[in-house]
Amino acid sequence: MRHVISVLIENEAGALSRVSGLFSARGYNIESLTVAPTEDASLSRMTIISTGSDDIIEQITKQLNKLIEVVKVVDLSEAAHIERELMLIKVRATGKDREELKRVSDIFRGRIIDVTDSTYVIELTGNTSKLDSFVGAIDSSLILETVRTGVSGIGRGDRILRL
């Protein structure tokens, strides 16, 4: 099963490699990993998307907790939560494709943030499947480049991960 694991970790040099090293050393899956400092600059927050049986996910959270610099670990997918990912996609936009791409982008609530006479860069935010659907909805031969941030997640309502 797919899990969304949130980690609060000391914002120190090497902390990221402790986490990524743990996953590779123990053969755990990482689908995506995002990390950036929080409002408290001494802490970073990671969102890790991983897949595995319940036993494996239990081990992953326990092993993450064992890392000395990890402050807190939560499996967001255990309850209601929100996931968002940002994608920037550069497409060839010429002739009648220009209008069509604009139209599809609007449907997905994307924003065109860079325009040249032959290209658009579209910014799109959503959960992973929305971004996948957008990529599927446009002619693949028009896609020049994509970049995705990976998923960031947060609990709904009163579920709060902080110190």
Binding site: G14, G21, E58, Q59, K62, Q63, N65, K66, I68, L163
Partner: protein
């Protein structure tokens, strides 16, 4: 007061009451060595290879309840130390390793003797630090000792660039240290403890399975009290030998791949199993699916939550310091009016005694050739079961574990997790320094002993009178055994040709060497060796090269699927 980084390091070590630092100098640690030279609180032991420094510090820790300390230089100093660090890490040994690093400005420049120490050691330490400012040294070293010795213990490395050892900073050693991200649990969950006690009282076939955690947490007495209170059988893992007295009638021997028949059978067929500071590893329970085939309730006490339900599902997990949790369990047992069902317990013991009658450790004695098991039996007799015994890795390690009956904790030192050949002599060094005047035996083989034989020189320098008992069978015995059983007698590269004359080699290092060829000479040689209190004696026992370790559970098999002798093949 402004002190140099190097002075600060040495003062911190003195503050931590470090008796010995095991190490080897080099370019990046010259200032540290200069400060060591100028004081006499912290004594330095100069090894002949950095691996041995780590092993010796590790053994110092294993045989006491203190943190072992080692000091190595950058680059190859660190890479040589890796095997030692990984060995300590696998067995959860509290250690602090200080490593030199190239100057801060040279880091990342592929400087001479540079390596990414924090990166290379990351997977085999509990934690590591790179100090980038002299003012951070004291607090970092305080944290290192704190982390190493709390929670599930382990090695912690502090990497210090050369310029930081020269730079000056205000020195004050912090009295305490707290980290928001590191708060190890000590007390167990009271509700879970109550459940555990209830299960233990209701058990008809209880079994106590205790591991190295009991020794690390100094809980042997509490374990012994629990075993006696419950009247249950107790087994120890390889790492746990000595946690419960081996000569006691409630002890059913070591369990696992080369464990006792009765221990493995009782593990499999008990109805309530309590695991205490043990982790159900592959060499202990064999195939986990086969282990789970029989229904039983499992209580698991461990300081490390990740050890629980890792390989075996448990019913009552208790995370906490064993010493505290055992206190709680003993208190509840005492307060309870219930007692275990004596009749059921009687039946259980009858069954265990029947298993015991298989006498799984019997072997065929010979008048012609020395049996390795016989050497260990005699070693136990001659030392009255009271020596510190270190071993290397292989057949001799298993025979030492099986035939030397350890009655006290911290007397048996071996590399259980990583299985590192070459630990024997350096372990002996660390133990002998921690316990001057106590008899220390190194049980080894002609293969393992050559992996750190250079340390005979260190032993001479520091007058460490180890009794090295080498069970020389001219083969990498455990490899040969598997090749015989699994690979159709194709002894690929397991024969040790061109062996040195070990007795003469020992003499060349300034020690006493004896070569023993006849079974009748074994006891006399051991007595002679232990009589020489001030000499290191290398006993080169020429043992039966065809002898195998039994019982044996083959890889992937269930715990009760045991070969008891070569006739079972």
């Amino acid at each position: 007061m402004l002190l140099s980084g190097a002075e600060i390091v040495v003062r911190c070590l003195a503050e931590e009451k470090v008796e010995y630092v095991f190490g080897y100098p080099g370019g990046a640690v010259l200032y540290l060595y200069d400060e060591l030279f100028k004081q006499d609180k912290v004594r330095h032991v100069l090894v002949r290879h950095e691996q041995a420094a780590i092993h010796a510090a590790d053994a110092y820790s294993r045989s006491t309840d203190r943190v072992g300390v080692a000091l190595v230089t950058s680059g190859p100093g660190v890479t040589n130390a890796i095997t030692g660090i990984a060995t300590a890490h696998m067995d959860s040994i509290p250690m602090v390793i200080i490593s030199g690093q190239v100057p801060t400005a040279a880091i990342g420049q592929d400087a001479f003797q540079e390596c990414d120490t924090v990166g290379i050691t990351r997977p085999c330490v509990k934690h590591n630090f790179l100090v980038k400012d002299a003012k951070d040294i004291a607090v970092t070293i305080k944290k290192a000792f704190f982390i190493a010795n709390t929670g599930r213990p382990g090695p912690v490395l502090v990497d210090i660039p050369k310029d930081i050892t020269i730079a000056k900073a205000e020195y004050e050693y912090p009295k305490t240290v707290s980290m928001r991200s590191y708060n190890p649990i000590t007390k167990g969950h009271q509700g879970q403890i109550k459940k555990a006690v209830q299960l233990l009282l209701e058990a008809k076939r209880p079994m106590i399975y205790a591991g190295g955690g009991v020794i690390l947490s100094d809980s042997s007495e509490k374990l012994t009290k629990l075993v006696r209170t419950l009247g249950a059988p107790c087994t120890n893992t390889l790492m746990g030998l000595g946690a419960y007295p081996a000569t006691d009638k409630q002890f059913v021997g070591m369990l696992g791949m080369h464990g006792n028949y009765e221990a493995n059978m009782a593990m499999q067929y008990c109805d309530v199993l309590i695991a205490i500071g043990a982790r159900f590893d592959d060499r202990v329970i064999g195939n986990p699916a086969d282990f789970a085939r029989v229904a039983r309730k499992i209580i698991h006490i461990d300081i490390d939550p990740s050890s629980i339900s890792k390989r075996v599902k448990v019913d009552v997990p208790i995370v906490g310091n064993l010493s505290d949790v055992l206190d709680d369990i003993l208190r509840l047992l005492e307060a309870s009016n219930e007692r275990p069902d004596q009749e059921a317990l009687g039946e259980w013991w009858k069954q265990i005694d029947e298993w015991r009658r298989r006498d799984c450790l019997k072997y065929k004695q010979s008048d012609e050739i020395i049996k390795p098991q016989f050497v260990i039996e005699k070693l136990w007799e001659v030392t009255k079961g009271d020596a510190f015994v270190t071993s290397d890795v292989g057949q001799h390690q298993m025979w030492a574990a099986q035939y030397y009956k350890f009655d006290k904790p911290r007397r048996w030192l071996n590399s259980g997790g990583l299985g590192t050949m070459g630990v024997g002599i350096p372990y002996g060094m660390g133990v002998q320094l921690a316990h001057p005047g106590s008899p220390v035996a190194v049980v080894t083989g002609e293969g393992s002993v050559q992996m750190n034989i250079q340390e005979l020189s260190t032993c001479k320098q520091y007058r460490l009178p180890l009794k090295i008992c080498s069970l020389n069978n001219r083969y990498l015995g455990m490899v040969r055994q598997w090749q015989e059983i699994i690979h159709g007698n194709r002894y690929s590269e397991s024969y040790m040709d061109s062996l040195p004359d070990f007795a003469k080699l020992a003499e060349a290092y300034g020690h006493v060497g004896l070569r023993i060829e006849k079974p009748g000479d074994v006891e006399g040689a051991l007595r002679e060796a232990f009589k020489r209190k001030n000499d290191l004696v290398f006993l080169d026992f020429q043992v039966d090269p065809t002898e195998n370790v039994y019982p044996m559970v083959m890889g992937g098999k269930g715990l009760t699927d045991m070969l008891l002798s070569s006739e079972d093949l």
